[in-house]
Symmetry: D2
Subunit: 474 residues, 4 copies
């Protein structure tokens, strides 16, 4: 449920070998806008020197024709950021650009490191000081502290010390480097545009610029693109993969390829499997647009129940909103979604959604469907119950706030006020991609984490993640 999830889902992009790399990076970030709307930034390399422009807001807010003109050069990286705090976190806007020993390096990060506490301590003991609250800054410190000489060697040296999730694009004085953690938590793909190479979180960023998908940047791969061409390093020991299954469920755009698979196909199959596991006696199936459209389509196909458009989504949502004197029930949800009464009236309605996080939005949607005259309301979720927070780049609520962490399905059914509630099983979910099921991280559904989580073991893991605004420092 997009209204409840607070994912720290970011988008990364990099391109090498075109006339004006920043312009294509801008278009790539624009296609990746759904992965982060808080801030955007681009670093280009012109004659070996790095140029940076970044700011708060969406890609179109930050970059005008004039600003792009200040980013010359034939290679560049870009970053969209989703923030977990309301604070105006100017200091956390990516890419970060650092200078050390006569050299420069910039990085954009999608993911979350899990050994930040020990990394930070180690760096602090070595005298490092930090300007942001991000783990991304740590990575650049590790690069600079490396004893290696070659910039790529330094990056590899740094990444060897990092645990957790990262899909990174670097730009150095000589080229760009794309790196993905050995477990491959977050996606990253490689494409080609005439003589140029492109990397991006999702392939929809290739489509907008007319680039061809080549392959995934592989888990554990460090990909160097410079004047000498494309070179791959595999510096890490091979590990079990832990692809984020949530990318398939909700994050990625359905027109993208992720982990080598069409998001649309997997997402539809989740809906189909849901219909098999949790059948429903209903007259119509409706989605919560746009995120569960594809899953609902699959559910409808499998069940043979007619798919209908039950909610109209208002895409003009602004940031600030009034609270009128005349109280209006559920206004926060109502300004986004309006039920189509003619469709719902006197119908047994199956709502297919991609997740239930806190449950508050779902409850309001159910109320709107009932108010529109539905005879019965059934809720089907194309994912298993979320019982545990994510530490790999999705900023979920704390365990306490996750409705499924402490309530049974029947309790949740009562809370939502629906006639039936059904979740997809973990097994069912994992059987959907064509990849072996061992490849995926299901920590948020199963509570078992594929890596050690520092200082979050034992009781800690139940507690609220430290969500201090970026501008308030200890």
């Amino acid at each position: 449920m997009p209204a409840e999830l607070l994912p720290e889902k970011c988008g990364v992009f990099g391109i090498f070998g075109v006339k004006n790399a920043a312009e294509l990076t801008y278009l790539g970030l624009y296609a990746l806008q759904h992965r982060g709307q808080e801030s955007a930034g681009i670093v280009s390399n012109f004659n070996g020197k790095l140029h940076i422009r970044k700011g708060m807001g969406q890609v179109n807010d930050v970059f005008s024709k004039d600003v792009l003109a200040e980013l010359p050069g034939h290679f560049a990286i870009g970053h969209n950021r989703y923030s977990t705090t309301g604070a105006n976190s100017v200091t956390n806007i990516q890419p970060f650009l650092f200078h050390y020993k006569g050299r420069s390096i910039a990085v954009g990060h999608n993911g979350n490191l899990t050994n930040t506490l020990s990394l930070r301590k180690k760096l602090e003991d070595a005298g490092a000081i930090f300007q942001s609250t991000t783990d991304t800054e740590l990575i650049l410190h590790l690069v600079a502290h490396s004893k290696k000489n070659d910039p790529v060697e330094k990056i590899i040296d740094a990444l060897k010390q990092c645990e957790g999730a990262y899909s990174l694009t670097f730009v150095t004085n000589e080229g760009i480097v794309a790196a993905r953690d050995p477990k491959g938590f977050r996606p990253m793909a490689l494409g080609k545009l005439a003589g140029a190479y492109v990397v991006a979180s999702e392939t929809c960023a290739f489509d907008i610029i007319g680039a061809q998908y080549l392959r995934e940047v592989e888990p554990g791969e460090v990909l160097v693109i410079d004047e000498k061409g494309l070179r791959s390093h595999y510096p890490f020991e091979r590990q079990e993969h832990a692809f984020c299954i949530f990318e398939f469920i909700y994050f990625a755009r359905p027109d993208s390829m992720i982990y080598g698979e069409n998001v649309d196909k997997v997402r539809r199959r989740l809906g189909r499997q849901l219909a098999i596991e949790r059948p429903v006696n209903a007259d119509i199936v409706i989605a919560v647009p746009d995120s569960s459209n594809t899953a609902a389509l699959g559910f409808s196909e499998q069940s043979g129940i007619q798919l209908e458009i039950g909610f109209i989504r208002n895409h003009y949502v602004g940031r600030t909103f009034i609270h009128p004197e005349q109280a209006i029930r559920d206004l926060d949800v109502r300004i986004k979604f309006n039920p189509v009464k003619g469709v719902l009236k006197e119908k047994r309605v199956a709502i297919v959604d991609d997740s239930i996080v806190r449950g508050t939005t779902s409850k309001k949607l159910v109320g709107m469907v009932r108010e529109a005259g539905a005879k019965e309301v059934h809720f089907r979720v194309s994912a298993p119950p979320i019982i545990s927070p994510c530490f790999y780049g999705i900023d979920m609520p704390t365990r306490e706030e996750l409705i499924a962490s402490s309530r049974t399905v029947e309790d949740i059914r009562k809370y939502l006020g629906v006639d039936s509630l059904g979740y997809l099983s973990i097994e069912g979910m994992l059987s959907m991609p064509s990849l072996p099921k061992g490849n995926f991280c299901v920590a948020c559904f199963a509570g078992k984490y594929p890596t050690k989580i520092e200082h979050h073991n034992g009781k800690d893991i139940l507690e609220k993640k430290d969500r201090r605004p970026a501008e308030i420092w200890p």
Copy 2:
């Protein structure tokens, strides 16, 4: 096809009898945002005096909490405007507020008068001077020039001189007045919220504030809402109705009721009828989101061909855009729509759209579907060919620019590059609403206009409408 139509579709709203009328008007305008994004305005009445705030941009750009606080009072009207020119038409922002003989009146207009030339001449001869290029200003002049004493009588007197399309909300020193032309070209509905009355272009504006739909404001009705309650006048001779069928085809939100019917239902039946009239041998049916989603659903239902999500729409579209040095084919369409390759590949695809205007966007979409690997591409349009411009409030291209005005269906098929092309018939279209078919205006499809069009008869009707920017005056 939203990217080609340039509708002068506006949204009007009025409310009487709530604590802070401007706040609910703001929400109503927000729900009507799809009817006009160029400018927005609200006029409220506090103790008999009118307060106005208006500006360029969407509702959320123009109105903040602070601005709404400057609009006190328990009744108000609001207006969203869609502009036909790129010019920064500050002078044309509605509502218009005029002052005459110690009284004030403001109006918001959806529609287009067809006797503006003679009205303007008559008023100019009487010494009237104009600040805007709009027909809406003429209406207020007629009100002020009326010899009647009562403000409502004056409004009626003025409207009797107007021909063409109008759904109007006025606010006077005493109350609000809603009026709809005797042919009823443009929609307007009446609702109730506790003790208050509401009027709006579409019922989705009622839903957001929790108001109940009562009935249509009838064609030819002049509805007065003030301290004394609700009173209806029917000052015009009864005329044939001429409801705009295009509201069902494309304009109105599917969750709205229009002319007493659910838009969703009629729109779906258009899709069903299209499938009957123009069947197709295809593997999948896809919509051009979001506007043809409902028609495509109907087509799929009727034909039994699987509905798929073939295009992903990017809702982050900004106003300004770059043209990168590296030419990218069809970038203007590509930034809005991306095909879902996995869905389209090696499929026989039927695209259902709601209209073809110039044909240029349709051609690009077809190209994208082919590029995604479709084996065959069939195009189905849930409306008849548009052969003639609209003079009742939809700003279409000139006749020359309308691809169907001079080309056969076969010619258009070749132009689009599709394997087959099928339009809905006028008869089929008119059989869809439950209203008798004589009730609708089909001028744009049939070329016959239900009213006289001044200075547009004969050869003139083929020529480009005068689209001078509002700020350039003869």
Copy 3:
């Protein structure tokens, strides 16, 4: 005292015969910025059609290079407006552009009509309706209502019906027209730039574009500038002049010429005369920068008392300001002026200011000078006591709010907390310009008005002027 006076002082500009008239108009308005900072607008004529751009804010806020590029043509007029209300009066921004009988006309106005009530009634009886609260709109109505055929004749016909103060620039389909009321309340000058003619409220607008001052636009002159050249009409009966003496005292820039005289020279002589009439035993003379700099210089010259810089003015003043939790005395004045302690300490200080309106700011300045250690504080005003409001274009407080309307000089002295207080006499003031003293309006000092003031006679004149915000209508 600039902080207290709320003058409706506007700036007007017009130019005919240069390549890009709007650019020079922009520069002219920039030089006239001191006459109004609330809004700015330009109307240019390109091939007989009028182009308008206007907006809230200073000249630099409203006009960018891009906006100026939308104002082509070789003649144009411009206007700066000072508003008397805090309201965001979009509808009152000048120039006004009106359309009538196939023709267009725009006007910018400096001044205030005094027969607006009867004009408005007459126009309303003839069916006119108004969109703004300004008298300027009335003028254009009168032009359009005129039975004359020629546009210039129409303007003359309209102006014959107007009483009060006006310096106007019109732009028509053929040229520009500059007009000044027969009493000449507000200034307007004519200049030349190569083959082009320029009119402006003050000659500082000529200096910035390198134009030469030719002469005053004479009281009662209607000056037509078009392709045929320059032509003057004198359609009004000759009347006693009533030049606003306040322009010399405070409004105009000292580097301008007004009524054919150097403002600087007259203003200095006011200071000299003040020193003669109201001598002081003081160690130093200080001004309240920047408005009384010149008068203080004259006072110092005449008295032989050393001129010192006693206050530093902060020119960065923003619009919004905080009110800190920790109360700071006189913060409103303190953010604008800071006393130079080293200069004031243990000195007998004579403050020369150009006016005392409400007296509140003066009192605070005196307090700051005392706090800085002055032994004695003497206050000298280079104008007589203001006892009556202005109805000719300066929006002063009501009579009640004018401290001198009901208090003796001794009372005011006590209120200000000064050791002595001296005003210039009316006679002394009038002897300063080289023009015969009968030429000036001294209504605000003497209470006698050179024209009839409608509905403001008798007791009315004491009451608060109707200062309703432009957006609140009766």
Copy 4:
């Protein structure tokens, strides 16, 4: 000449012990706005945690009531920055806030270190990486790298490694620290407001909040203000002072105290001394407002030549400006200054200015005075010729660009086109403050620097300072 000097003059402020420290910091920065308009920032301490808000623009652009509300706490520091580049240097906005070993520290800097190259190398060798191009960041690195335990000890340890000019305010988790380099290049004063202590670059920041001046923060003093009160450390060996004399000549506001002296008094004596050293046969003396007003006053007093207001300065100058098609001579200077013709005509005019840097603006001003009809134009400069760039916080042009570096006074006279030209002597200048003359830095006038300038010795010192935009990195 303000139009030519590009000083990196910044303003620093700190306060401890008031209810809402950020609000008073805001007011202090507002009073110090003349020391830097490019960016502004505040860091407050609430319950031991640091809160930061900073942005591009003037104080009023960056801080609204809402933003100040996000800066709670009873102590805070603030910074105004003047930038030497046009680049949108988001990364260089001060204060800088860094985090190290569980602690936080922020700093604002006025001045310029002269051993940055060796410091940077030392830090880089220790693994430090940098995000900005400023020497200020180096200071925080040195603090973090210090082996000392106590934060104040760490600061002292860091400063001991720094050479050059610094007036710094730090905020730590416990309090604020103000530090001034042992030579005292840049000013800093200490004040008191009820129970609170304040430090600021100039005392005008005390006046606006009603604080009392106590004394200078002494050269070499490290002043700690926290819950335990006020404590001074003097960790450096005593050195010759090197107060920047340019603060007296041009930078500081005349109402401030600097180095314990009234700026106004010293600046006036400079004008007096100039009149003694370089007498002139002239009818009038004029200043270039506002910066040379005080010096011109002194010149007039001493010489007995009448002071006149010869230029009017337009304070509305915007950032962007057009270049009209019709070329206007000296438009860049004309938009700022307009000569008062009546004052200058047929007069022998002595212009007193505070400096000549490149000479281009002075030449244009001279031209305007001649054009206004002056019979003779004499130029007097209340400072000696600038022959060498400053490395202590004033970003002057390179030596080549300094007109006096390679031309004789006679050459400059000819270039300016004046009848006579006279500079103040170094000796004359140094005799003006009451401090012993050995206390001042006169490097820019004498070419001898009180500290070693790294990598600027020999020929280097003549070369252009590295002025790369902050966002372009090697």
